[in-house]
Symmetry: C2
Subunit: 440 residues, 2 copies
Amino acid sequence: MGEQQDREWTGEAMTQLFHAKKGEVTAVMRRVAEREKISAELVRDEVALGRLVIPANINHKNLDPQGIGSAVTCKINTNIGGSAVRSGADEELKKLELCLNLGSDAVMDLTVGPHIAEIRQTLLDHCPAPLGTVPIYEAIERAGTCEALTADLLFTCIEEQARQGVDFMTVHAGLLREHIPMAKERLCGIVSRGGSLTATWMLHHQRQNPLFEEFDRLLDLCRQYDVTLSLGDGLRPGCLADASDASQFAELKTLGDLVRRCRAADVQVMVEGPGHVPFDQIEMNMKKEQEWCDEAPFYILGPVVTDIAPGYDHITSAIGATMGAFHGASMLCYVTPREHLGLPTQQDVRQGVIAYKIADHAADVAKHRPGARERDDALSKARANFDWDQVFELSLDPHRARMMHEESHVSKDDIKADYCSMCGPKYCAMKLSNAVKAAK
Amino acid sequence: MGEQQDREWTGEAMTQLFHAKKGEVTAVMRRVAEREKISAELVRDEVALGRLVIPANINHKNLDPQGIGSAVTCKINTNIGGSAVRSGADEELKKLELCLNLGSDAVMDLTVGPHIAEIRQTLLDHCPAPLGTVPIYEAIERAGTCEALTADLLFTCIEEQARQGVDFMTVHAGLLREHIPMAKERLCGIVSRGGSLTATWMLHHQRQNPLFEEFDRLLDLCRQYDVTLSLGDGLRPGCLADASDASQFAELKTLGDLVRRCRAADVQVMVEGPGHVPFDQIEMNMKKEQEWCDEAPFYILGPVVTDIAPGYDHITSAIGATMGAFHGASMLCYVTPREHLGLPTQQDVRQGVIAYKIADHAADVAKHRPGARERDDALSKARANFDWDQVFELSLDPHRARMMHEESHVSKDDIKADYCSMCGPKYCAMKLSNAVKAAK
């Protein structure tokens, strides 16, 4: 980023949305256009409509901006961060490097427990991708307990994180007091961490959600640093039985109202989505968000399409994520095999990121994004030519593909052969097919 | 199976289809009805229409029959079998036990190389699930080369396998000489093993496909032992670029004609499907098969929805398989992580079977199959109650779920705790949510 001048704070709204509405193309927009191979004017127009967001805090100096929205390729986000029980800055930094190397487009630091600010600073210093947080985690850590949290402390944390350079923040501003009784009917209740903390606070204080009550205060902070708001779905379903219920959709309605307030205030905004959703309800969920939230980019978590596969939720959720992206979701929050069971290890992060690279790419291909299928075709051509090195190089995980191929062979000579151990030399379809092609 | 009498050969057509057309309910149909919790009369009517098949060779004495079709739950098939390069009867028997334990509904023995008949006998002796084969593999093994194969030898192998008790056979009878020029245009050509062998044979001999030319001879054999024909898609696409092309659909049209001939001859029949298909073309592919093949059960391989993830094709294909099953496929042929790279190990078989149990279950839930969601709800309830043992027990892979949970904990006491290391005790959403539920 050579051109930072248009991201400096000058005392008034200087968000990408502000510029776009005025018809200006910023350096940030130009970079997104370059990455997406579309025109900068299209980027600007989409940002102006609010259908595209570019989380780019003016203080995140090493940022290489990413666009998130229906006009660009689907993105994936990797959640990292330690919990009170496990992990520290070093381990999280390794996860950061790993997920960026594997192609993650955005990263959220979900650290809870001590050392939150320190881990976040370390990650920001090393993260060219947009970095997101859930500020209520730090606020509660500093308050000591959920109940001791005050609105002022929460806003202090938000302001400090914004000044530090956080690009997007999940705020559960649409979870209202009046939604809680609906959620009590559920099989799994409130499974969003931020959502359950917010509900606990509201019940204890018998007060409305402070982020909702003082939403304009939040908007002022976001406008100052160009923090993109990610409106959290505190009432996202935590099991198939709770999907698409009254409480989920009551909150979504509120999120739609908040989207309109963000846009009026020149604050970039996206909306977060479920969760656990049966496969047949995914399209409907995507359409409802588009309708109720005026096409704000939808940032979905999975959804997992069955509850019965703990240990494999990167798969259950990649299925849902592909369907969601196909029907309009703009960013997919990855899920690892260890979801529901524990904090992911580096190996889990790898599995999760690859599963989501598959989901977002499959959706981009299915939506006929220009050039999306080029890599598939190149790899398939290499496959037909037995150019194994090229096959591995074009793979999402070259190391694993190469390893699996090598360990399946009985001799070193086999590795370069024009067949693999799956069929053996005599029954290799590709080999036979090449002969058929060559025949008259 | 206490009641075998209605499966004995008495010199005339005694297939399940024959009985169903006459309005008879057989012991086999009753068993399928019991497993599916539907009436035996419905099973009979669906079999009579050809929308449901029950592969049940009269000589597979230890068979516990399974129904495959749109009226019953979605099934998965596991391919096992050695290749010339690797594996023998012992290793394949271990894979058989593993895939049956994990819930595979059908098994195909795809052994090539020596010991085909011996491995098949071993598997049949230990397999209560319907067992399928691709007879051309044995025929070519016995002929020595593809070119030396004769029609008589192929039919001899089919007859011997039928007598041995094979329940369903993949025959590439719909791949015609005139289709080959179309397939030459493809990026990856003919990637079906049986398809490429058949094409090679036709080109060499300058003759039509003998299975097509002598299809009535094939029907006579199948009728005698109640072998269900699985009409192979020799021209299934092997990469996204080749999907839904002229050659694929030319063969599918022919398969539709063969379906009608099977039914007229009282032979049960299903149709095999792709392969590699972009996500947006899957629904169309399912609908076309239903239309052109008069709703014959569609048995699909994946499809994988991107070519760029070798090493993870159990995931790329589980995504496509879920979509396919949702839109009407009746059986899903599993794909392992080692697809395209080598012969699967036991660990690969495990990964593949679980991925497909996820896909078929997710589709059954999405199609609102009665009772399909019960296990999800039970597991989610256990999850909300921190009944970890119950969570593991209801999981598709209890061993892995338990292991991942245990290794994520710092102390033994933690394992039974009402939180997990993902959030730690203070931020556990489930725990907080339970308190919210309990509050007034």
